[in-house]
């Protein structure tokens, strides 16, 4: 279970959200600049809160009177909008970077059909393939929660549908809290068990 309670001053508004995510896909839906990515960054430990608390499976990320738990120790997977694959490493090295379980690697590579890409560099593969690599790379770290920041936004319609289908399949298998940021309404309703609408740093009911 992931609990999120964030207050953070943004340049033009106050980000103030409170929600929890069980083993489901929660979609954060709203216009650009509403604070969606900042929420993901706070959960991952890449941005700091002004006040509030984030906890995952009873582990508090902002313990009282102590430094926040660093991103590297949160066990929160993150798939970035532009995938952020390491451009100087092959697909296999990208995936092995945070690998916790060798068996898992083969299983996921097989499942996502990226066996033939392992020796390629990121610039040699297509957008859909990058997306699959980014997903596998996040999953092999055995995350307890997964964050996805507009992961399908740059894909063509057919590839987007394939990847969405694969994500649903992975979620069914892993059964962890996932938060997906999008501003595509169709995608939100297709993937989300629950949709949280946002505007100017607040959740809209």
């Amino acid at each position: 279970m992931l609990f999120v309670d964030i207050q953070k001053k943004m340049p033009s508004f106050l980000l103030d959200v409170h929600f929890k995510v069980s083993s489901e896909i929660v979609v954060l839906f709203g216009p650009s600049g509403a604070g969606k990515t900042t929420i993901l960054n706070c959960i991952a430990g890449l941005s700091q809160l002004d006040s509030g608390q984030i906890s995952l499976n009873q582990r508090e990320f902002h313990p009282h009177n102590k430094k926040p738990v660093p991103a590297a120790k949160r066990h929160v997977g993150y798939v970035f909008q532009d995938y952020a694959l390491f451009p100087h490493m092959t697909v296999e090295k990208n995936i092995r970077y945070g690998l916790k379980d060798e068996q898992l690697l083969y299983q996921l590579v097989e499942l996502m059909g990226i066996n033939h890409l392992l020796d390629n560099y990121p610039h040699q593969i297509s957008g859909g393939e990058k997306q699959r690599v980014a997903l596998v790379r996040a999953f092999v770290t055995k995350p307890e929660a997964l964050l996805l920041d507009e992961p399908f936004s740059s894909l063509d319609q057919q590839t987007k549908q394939e990847c969405q289908h694969e994500l649903l399949h992975l979620h069914k298998t892993w059964n962890i809290p996932m938060i997906l940021v999008t501003h595509d309404e169709e995608e939100a309703s297709k993937l989300g068990d629950r949709i949280l609408k946002m505007d100017k740093g607040k959740l809209i009911l």
Partner: protein, 225 residues
């Protein structure tokens, strides 16, 4: 032909380049990634030798390292060691004048690639040290290498500050630029021409190699853009 100036120049520029590379990368990394009051002032101070005449740098170094200067006195008292009029003085002059080039190249290189690439590594459990060596350093390497070559070239060509702090002592502080100047002064045009051609060849070879290398490297893993 006495080749001592060549050996001296290579030794001085080589040592200065190693020191400038390590400190330049260190400061660039720390300063570009942090926010603190006075950051712009520190950055301006680090870049200052680039816009100052080398004689001003030389004057400053003479003041600091001279036998009555604050650092010079300590070195003399503690280690019985004098910097002025030694090749070590030439190394210090080369370090100070070449540092801004390395710092500037390194700072630009560390800001060139997408921050999320490092963030992704952080969320995958990597330590700062591991991220630096496996992500930041390799991605910044083309720019760092350019800085390294420029630093070496600048250190090799340093004249004004070197002359002021290290003086012209044949076989001890006689680097190629000093050898050229004093050869011309004493009417030895052939000797001067020899050293001019030597330094032209070294400089041209370094830049040519850098251009060739970076062209090849850009093709290798920057072609996704």
């Amino acid at each position: 032909m006495d080749l001592t100036p060549l050996y001296l120049s290579l030794r001085i520029a080589g040592i200065a380049t190693v020191i400038v590379f390590i400190t330049g990368v260190f400061f660039a990394r720390i300063i570009t990634r942090s926010r603190f009051p006075g950051k712009r002032i520190i950055e301006s101070l680090l870049m200052l030798p680039l816009v100052l005449p080398p004689t001003v740098v030389g004057f400053g170094l003479l003041y600091l390292f001279g036998n009555n200067g604050p650092i010079g006195t300590l070195l003399l008292e503690w280690f019985d060691f004098q910097v002025v009029f030694t090749w070590i003085g030439a190394v210090i002059a080369a370090i100070v004048v070449a540092f801004p080039l390395m710092y500037q190249s390194a700072a630009a290189s560390f800001q060139k690639y997408d921050r999320n690439i490092e963030n992704a590594a952080r969320t995958m459990g990597a330590s700062r040290w591991r991220i630096f060596w496996t992500i930041s350093f390799p991605l910044a390497w083309p720019g760092l290498l350019a800085g390294l070559v420029l630093t070496f070239a600048r250190a090799l060509g340093e004249f004004g500050a070197t002359l002021m702090i290290a003086g012209y002592i044949p076989n001890q502080t006689e680097t190629i630029p000093l050898a050229i100047y004093f050869a011309v002064e004493s009417g030895n045009r052939d000797v001067a021409l020899f050293w001019v051609l030597s330094i032209l060849i070294i400089g041209f070879a370094a830049i040519l190699w850098l251009n060739w290398w970076s062209g090849r490297n850009i093709l290798r893993f920057r072609s996704e853009d």
